[in-house]
Structures are given as C-alpha cells and as structure tokens.
Amino acid sequence: MTELALLVPLIALAGGALACLGRTPAAADRLNVVAALVTAAAALTLAALALTGEELRTRWLQVDGASGVLLAVIAVVGLCSALVSPAFLRTAGRSWFTAARSRRAYYAALYVFWAALMVVPVAGNLAVVWLVVEGTTGASALLVAFSGRREALEAGWKYLVLTTLGLSVALLGIVILAIGQAGLGETGLHALDWTALERAALEHDAALLAFVLIIAGLATKIGLAPVHNWLPDAHSEAPAPISALLSAALLPSVALVAWRVKTALEAAVGPGAAGAMFIGFGLASIIVAVPFLWRPLPFKRLLAYSSLEHMGVIALGIGFGTSLAIAGVLVHVAGHALAKSLGFYAALPLLRADPEAGSRPLAGVAASPTATAITVSLIALAGLPPSPLFVSEVLIALGGVQAGETAVVTVAVVALALGFLGLLHALFDGVLPEAGSRSRPHRGERQLVALTWTLGTGLLALTVASALLPGSALVEALL
C-alpha cells in the first residue's frame, strides 16, 4: 500500500504530461481519456485497500478509512471531470492563454491539481499536507480564471489571495506548534507527523493558539462562513469540470486535514474547545447559506451556496465527533461529491446552448436530459429521501444529540429544513416548463445521460451502504 500511495500522484502527473503531448486537440483529448482512466483505476485501488485493509501509519503516510473515502471521491470526480473536459474545451471559446496553448495549459493544470488532491488524504505530516494544500491553490486559481473574462479574473484573484491569506494564518499556527514540539525535544519535520502531535504533551495556551490559527486558516480554504467569500465566485466562474473538483473534492479534502488537526491536538486543547470551533464554523455556514438558497441565483452560484451549506454540515459532524456523527460525515462527503459534481456537469450543456444562462436563474430546462441531471442533483443535495444526504444529515443530527448538543442540532435542523425548501423551490422554478415555452434540446447530452445514470446509481448504492456504517469497524477506527 505504501508504494501505491506514493505512486498514485505520480501517475496523475505522468497522465497530465501525456495529455499535453497530443499534437492536435483531438489527440490531446484521447490521451486525456487514457490518462484519466489509468489514474482513476490506481486511485480507486488504493481507496479500496484503505477501506478494507489495516490502517497504515508511517512517518510520511497515514492511510485510514477517511483517506479511503476521500481517495474514492477524488478518483471518481477527477475521472468524470477529465472525461467531460474535452466537451468543455471544444466550445470554451475565449481563454486567457493563447489558442495554441490553452488546451495544454488546461490539462497540465487539471492533472497537477488532481495529483495534489490525491496526496492530501494520505499525507502523514501536517507541514507536508499544508505545502500540498497551498500547492493546489496555484493550479486551481489558473483554472478558475481559464476563460480570462473579467468576472473569471475577479473570481480567480479573490480565490488566490484569500486562500493564500488563510493558509498563511494556518502556517503561523504550524510554526507555533513546531516551537512547542521543539520545547519538548522534538525537532525537525517529523515533529509535525500526525502521530508525533497526538502523543505530544504540548503546553495548553500555545497549543490552543496554534489550533485556532490552523483551523481558522483551513476554514478559508474549505469555504466555511464567515471566511467563504471566494467560494461562490470561484465555483460559478470556473469551468464546470473544475467547479466539480473544487466543490466535491478540494473542500472535503481540506476538511479532512482540519479533522486530523482536531484529532491530533484534542488532548492538548481539550475536546470541548476543539469541537466547539468546528460546531461554530459549521452552524455559521449553514445559517449563512440558507437565504442564498432561496434567492433566484444562476444555477452554478446556487450550487456554490449549497456547497457552503454542506461543508457546514460536515464541520458540524466533525465537531460532534461521536460514532453516529462520524458515520454521517463519511456518507455526507461521498454523497455530496456525487450529487454536486452531477449538478456542475449538467451546467455544461446548459451553458453551451445558452451562455447567458450563467448569469440568470435557472428556467425552462424541462423535459431534457439536462433537466433530469439537474433534478437528480438538486433532489439529492436537498436531502430528499432516498438521497444519501438525508441519511447522513439524520446520522449527524443524532450524533449531535449523542454528544449532548441538542440546542445546536435544533438550530441546524431548522436551517437545513429551510435550505431544503429553498433548493426545491429552485428546482420547481427552474425545471418545470413555463407556460407556452418549449425546452431546447442541448448538444452533447448523451454523455450527461450516462453520467446521470452512473452517479445516480452511485447515490442510491450509497444510501443502501450508509445503513451499514454506524458501529462499523471503519467508523470505530476513526474515533
């Protein structure tokens, strides 16, 4: 497993190089498909080993059940994003790269981003994982601004500056931790291994300060309120395959890093303080997202605010930290990834047929494969049964009660119910036909039909599988 964990990101990088070798756009697209399939197969193999085998903890690696879930999510969403990218690039139009370079630049940045994402869940050291998370920023910022339009530049700049700012704050916390470890005689890089941090008897005040700085900094990258300002802009302006990777893979991957920090420092800062910070960010994110879910927003922007809400739910689950809540978190990460990425992929034919759809609320897409994909995505994201997100939200709520946080659970459930109604409202307004209107067929929808079936089936399978999670060895190992 160690070799495979080290090999998977290298396969992704080699795949990116391969895709860039294509001399014609068609050749580059074909090489991209090969590279994506090989990369995803390797990552899914590693995910399967992580989910079924023994936990692996070395000085450089930590591969456990949470790594397995995240790796599977990153592999599936990365594969789907790579497969729909040729369709995006064929009709992308303007780019801030020259026409000759734009395809290569896109594939290079996509695979670097994908490779970095696959390091995050398996890295065994806080400093190394910080370096990789910061590394994702450069590649993904270029992709966010790929169109070179004014709005895309604005979104990319905000993303680059705000997340770098947040990660600087997190690095300050990491240096403070390194100082604390040095005071205990632990120096060098491995003083910041997850295992070294867990067993360290750090001084309470400095550990608490480091914890607050690290979590607040990472919250910026996760897009948790109130430090989420870049999120709606980046998700709405990025190419749809990249929006899917940002929302479904990047945000939960960084949430996993924050979770690992909580686990490592809980003894030093106290379980109450550690959990409270996650609960605060989680509750704030859900509450801030709800009014936007009721507004008539462009479809991708609506999905972005839904990401804010769902990252809030995940943060709540991590904050509660009980067996049921952790089971809920795992289901939520996977369910959100499948449903959200399908929503963003549905935006591709929608925007191709009508570029103006990117700047106005969803309307009149009834009776088309796009409508089916949007309906499946929004119903799943709203948490309507049989969506796995319904199960995960119930598990997290029960986990909160189990943790004695009944008041927090009550507020969260009310806010989630309002968010649910908001998304259904958007669904009815956007997908049901207006009187006298006919929906236009969109090109390239066969691929979307296949994705809808695949991801929709995955969502149903996840709902079934989620019944087996509470009390399982996978969850117990993460407590």
């Binding site: 590394g135 604005e154 700049w157 600087s168 403070i176 100082i179 910041l192």
Partner: protein
C-alpha cells in the same frame, strides 16, 4: 535590532504609494531576513537559496510585471497613509498583546515576527493595487520566516524549501493575474473587481 528593522520595512509598505518603492522595501526586507538566517546555525544552502529567491528573483519578477502594467496615474488609496499606518499598528499591537509566550527564549523576536505577519495581512486587506496585495503576502511570509528562525533547533529545511516553492508559485500565478487584470481593466486597482455580488 534586525527584527525591528525588518518590521519597520514592512510598515513602510503600508505607507508608500508607488509600487516600485514598495517592491524595493520588500526586497530589502527579504535581504535583511536572509542575512539574519545566514547568521543563524542551520543549513547555509537553504538560507542562501531563500535569500536569492526572496530578495532577488521574486522582486525582479515583480519589477517585470510593473513594467508591463504601467498605471496611467497612481491608484487612489482607500485611506490616507497615517490612517493606514495607525490601523495596521493597532492590529499588530493587539496581536502582540494577545500572544502567549511561545517558549523560543526570545520574546522580542516572537513579537516582531507575529507583528510582521499581521502587517502583511493588513497590507493585503488595506491596499487596492493588485501588486500591493501580492507584496502583502510576501511580507506575511517574511514574518513567518522570522518566527521560524526562532524555533529551537530550526525549522525543517523541507518546510522552508516547500514554503519557498509555494510562495514562488503563488507569486508567479499572481503575476499572471496582475497582468490579466491590468489588460482587462486598464489598471491594477482591485477595487474595480466588484462585479460578482449577490
């Protein structure tokens, strides 16, 4: 003493209006920090490389960006220089007051370093030109490097080199953006990047 000078150079970036002056200040700040690092026990190669990149390569890149993004006139400041300085100094002082002892054995260096990080963050928040925001990120990173020098036994060179690589990556990508924003707006004033609102 050197730490105080490094902090003062950061405060200088808060005050000046010309981007070229600000680049020069950050370059001198990085040079002073690099010399301080060379003076510490540690990896000379790493300290030298950090010095070369931060004090020479990145400022040279920023000067190149400056030449390609000439402003027709100086970008209007959101607030006067004294107001900016007072706000930044207040934020830095608050951070220093709230900072618990970090057990490096050098409280002065700890305070200067944390104050410099806050100064860098304040530059990003308070200055409108894109290039100034980029310089703010470098100043904040210099603050982190200053604190890293206080770590007993030194911070791992893997972290130092990794952070340097990440900083260089962010500066290169941000330079692309700065040129793109200037090409689109005719100015690097980020205040004009307010089209995305709900």
């Amino acid at each position: 003493m050197t730490a105080s000078v490094i902090l003062a150079l950061g405060l200088g970036v808060v005050l000046v209006r010309r981007r070229s002056f600000a680049i020069a200040l950050v370059s001198v700040q990085s040079l002073a920090l690099g010399l301080l690092a060379l003076d510490h026990d540690g990896e000379l190669f790493v300290a030298g490389l950090v010095l070369l990149v931060k004090a020479l390569a990145l400022p040279a890149l920023l000067v190149a960006v400056l030449r390609r993004t000439r402003e027709p006139r100086l970008v209007a400041a959101a607030a006067g220089p004294l107001v900016r300085l007072a706000g930044t100094a207040a934020a830095a002082a608050l951070a220093v007051v709230l900072l618990p002892p970090l057990a490096t054995g050098d409280i002065h260096a700890e305070r200067m370093a944390v104050a410099l990080v806050v100064v860098g963050l304040s530059i990003v928040v308070a200055r409108r030109p894109a290039l100034f925001q980029l310089l703010g990120l470098i100043v904040a990173e210099n603050g982190l490097s200053l604190l890293a020098l206080s770590v007993p036994g030194g911070l791992s060179y893997v972290i130092e080199l990794g952070a340097l690589f990440d900083l260089a990556l962010v500066v290169v990508v941000a330079s692309f953006f700065t040129r793109g924003i200037h090409g689109e707006l005719g100015t690097g004033d980020t205040e004009l990047l307010r089209g995305l609102r709900d």
